[in-house]
């Protein structure tokens, strides 16, 4: 098979994650880093996942490629990708072929996702050979075009070693490698962490543009709400291994329904607006060890804690295309919030 030039209007696949649970083996037993997550990525959209450190974002992303590393293990659930089926049932060569060709992955620390001893070009050829690309020349040409698309001198970059590139350039190379085989589903794990503002803006712009040109289904994972808000169509908010809120980005940001989402938005430093309205979320983010075994994962920091939160894990309820997992949703929350702020 040869690499085909981007065909803008090929149908983007949809991705459906159902009841996904991923556990890590720790001295204290197997603890869930991702628990019962349902998430649907609509074809051709960019879905952003935000959450603080340790909320299970990377684990979720890796699950999409059935690539959770030991001591982690996917304990339950399915990840259906159109045209591929349930990724979690793929094994061996099938799985390998799916990775890279069907699902592109841009690594959390893309700076370090390149082999330091080989030039980018050689790594590109390795990629091509691994996926039985017959016309390697065409592959190189595609890669060069993609790089040029992202504002770089493709020929020079392909001749470079990883250490000869800056962080932003490496990140773009990572994106190129994820796309060059025409993957239609792309997962980007923290694509802009550790980049400075201007570079971050550039990368985000590139993501958006490439996404649209190639008609992809994209998952962008980040802890930076701002970054997601800039590119994503949909936003999923993760907390303690659960997706606590999911919906179109403007709606989720403009009218957050989950107390965590609200707290998070309030905690983001802003360029304009009333400083006094901003405040940090009390308490501290959970880790695997401190996650409560039962009840709502957020209750310790929640301003709207109720008795039921201690015992019952709130189910995710979808309404108007918006999903929220909170016992307090639908109850008059305005009042309680105001009370605290006085």
């Amino acid at each position: 098979m040869t690499a085909q030039p981007a065909t803008p209007h090929a149908a983007a696949p949809g991705v459906r994650i159902r009841d996904l649970t991923v556990v890590y083996k720790t001295p204290a037993g197997e603890l869930p880093a991702v628990r019962g997550v349902d998430l649907t990525l609509a074809p051709g959209t960019i879905t952003g996942v935000v959450g603080e450190s340790g909320s299970g974002k990377s684990t979720l992303a890796l699950s999409l490629l059935n690539a959770v590393q030991p001591p982690g293990r996917i304990a339950a659930g399915s990840v259906e990708i159109d045209g591929l089926g349930d990724v979690l049932t793929l094994r061996g060569e099938d799985l390998r072929r799916a990775r890279g060709r069907e699902v592109g992955y841009v690594f959390q620390a893309a700076q370090n996702s390149l082999n330091p001893l080989k030039t980018i070009g050689k790594q590109l050829l390795d990629l091509g050979r691994s996926h039985d690309v017959e016309d390697l020349r065409a592959l190189v040409r595609d890669a060069r075009e993609l790089l040029a698309r992202m504002g770089m001198d493709g020929a020079r970059v392909l001749d470079s070693y990883q250490h000869e590139l800056s962080g932003g350039m490496r990140q773009r190379v990572g994106i190129m490698l994820a796309l060059v085989l025409n993957a239609k589903v792309v997962v980007l794990d923290e694509p802009t962490t550790a980049l400075d503002m201007i570079t971050q803006a550039t990368i985000l712009r590139i993501i958006r543009e490439v996404h649209e040109e190639r008609a992809l289904t994209t998952l962008v994972i980040t802890h930076d709400v701002g970054a997601v808000a800039e590119v994503a169509d949909d936003l999923a908010v993760m907390y303690g291994g659960r997706v606590v809120e999911h919906g179109p980005v403007t709606e989720v940001l403009g009218d957050a329904r989950h107390p965590y989402t609200r707290g998070l938005i309030r905690a983001i430093p802003r360029l304009t607006g009333d400083l006094s309205l901003a405040r940090a979320l009390p308490g501290r983010p959970p880790t695997l060890g401190t996650l409560p075994a039962q009840g709502c994962v957020f209750r310790e920091r929640c301003e709207r804690r109720m008795d039921i939160c201690e015992t019952d894990d709130p189910a995710a309820v979808t309404h108007d295309g918006r999903t929220v997992a909170c016992h307090a949703t639908g109850r008059p929350l305005e009042l309680v919030g105001r009370e605290e702020l006085v």
Binding site: R96, A109, N112
Partner: protein
């Protein structure tokens, strides 16, 4: 901020680096030469008397023994210490290490040349063998590190690494030359075969080298396996390996990424240990009576052959200094990161 270095620039830079290394190496060699000069002039003991009494004990008549040793007097160094030192350094410049006392009339360089052959052969074989074996097993041990086999491999590595070479040598000799004598107990080759590329000679050479080579291999195998294991584990933790897997690269390619990155630092160690080979085989040569540099050194010491002792020691050191330089340069050449001055 990174920059690419133009080729001309790079060549000049490498030349400068080499020059720096060479100067440092020369200083070091001078220091060692001086040390050995000083030590050697301080050595107590009387080689002439020693030779004489040994001959008597072996049954020579006192007259014969006296005649046999008298000549040694003629070769003892004369002049004051400073003159000797200057003369010594002067002759070093001409690669002249003086004449041996215990093999009178023979140039030290000749003796060292003969001995070096016998050291290089088995130790090089042992080094390379252990390197290949250790590196392979190291990868295996790293990949299987949570399994029992990996554990056992690592432990065997630690143990072999920890056990001194003479223990291994002695055990092997006890087993294969004494209890179950299938190997010759010493010497480098049977004299009955005409030296050259004939099967008899080569067979005998190999037969005699088996035990020393195996000893050397076992002794250094542990170090390689441990180093390789920890490197592989470290590289496995590096993101680019996971990234390569997530790009769906073939297992073979991922493995090559892994191995190449893990093995890279080992090449410098390999260069160093090849440098060490000139001195690293003293015990093995002693146990297997292999006429290499190590044995030469030990013998020169017990016969108080000043010139030979100093010369051998110097050659051993020079070997290491050169290896150090080579290792550094090798690293510069094979690691693109260092090559362009990214990390030094």
């Amino acid at each position: 901020m990174t920059q690419t270095v133009p080729g001309r620039h790079r060549a000049a830079a490498i030349a400068r680096k080499v020059a720096g290394h060479v100067v440092r190496g020369l200083v070091m060699i001078w220091a060692v030469a001086t040390i050995s000069f000083v030590i050697i002039r301080e050595i107590p003991g009387n080689p002439v008397l020693g030779q004489y009494e040994s001959l008597i004990q072996k049954g020579m008549s006192p007259e014969q023994a006296e005649r046999a040793t008298a000549v040694l007097y003629g070769f003892l160094p004369t002049g004051n210490l400073w003159q000797q030192y200057v003369g010594y350094l002067g002759s070093l410049l001409h690669f002249d290490l003086g004449r041996s006392l215990s093999t009178p009339g023979v140039e030290v360089t000749t003796l060292i040349g003969h001995a070096a052959r016998w050291t290089v052969l088995p130790v090089l074989a042992g080094t390379l063998l252990s390197f290949l074996l250790g590196v392979t097993m190291g990868v295996y041990a790293a990949i299987k590190r949570s399994g029992r086999l990996g554990d056992a491999l690592a432990l065997s590595g630690s143990l072999l690494h920890g056990v001194p070479v003479y223990v291994i040598g002695l055990l092997l000799t006890a087993i294969f030359a004494t209890l179950w004598p299938i190997m010759p107990s010493g010497g480098p080759v049977d004299v009955e075969f005409v030296p050259g590329l004939n099967p008899g000679y080569i067979g005998s050479l190999v037969h005699h080298a088996v035990l020393p080579v195996v000893t050397y291999t076992l002794a250094s195998y542990g170090g390689w396996i441990l180093a390789m294991k920890s490197n592989v584990v470290a590289v496995l933790g590096d993101d680019f390996i996971l990234a390569a897997e997530l790009r769906g690269l073939r297992r073979g390619i991922v493995f090559r990424y892994l191995a190449r990155n893990a093995i890279l630092p080992l090449f410098t160690i390999l260069a160093l240990s090849i440098g060490m080979l000139f001195g690293g085989s003293i015990f093995i040569e002693q146990i297997f009576n292999y006429p290499g540099l190590g044995l030469l050194l030990v013998n020169s010491i017990s016969s108080r052959d000043y010139a030979l002792m100093g010369g051998t020691f110097l050659v051993i050191t020079v070997g290491i200094v050169v290896a150090n330089i080579v290792a550094d340069l090798l690293y510069t050449v094979i690691d693109p990161r260092v090559r362009s001055g990214g990390a030094a």
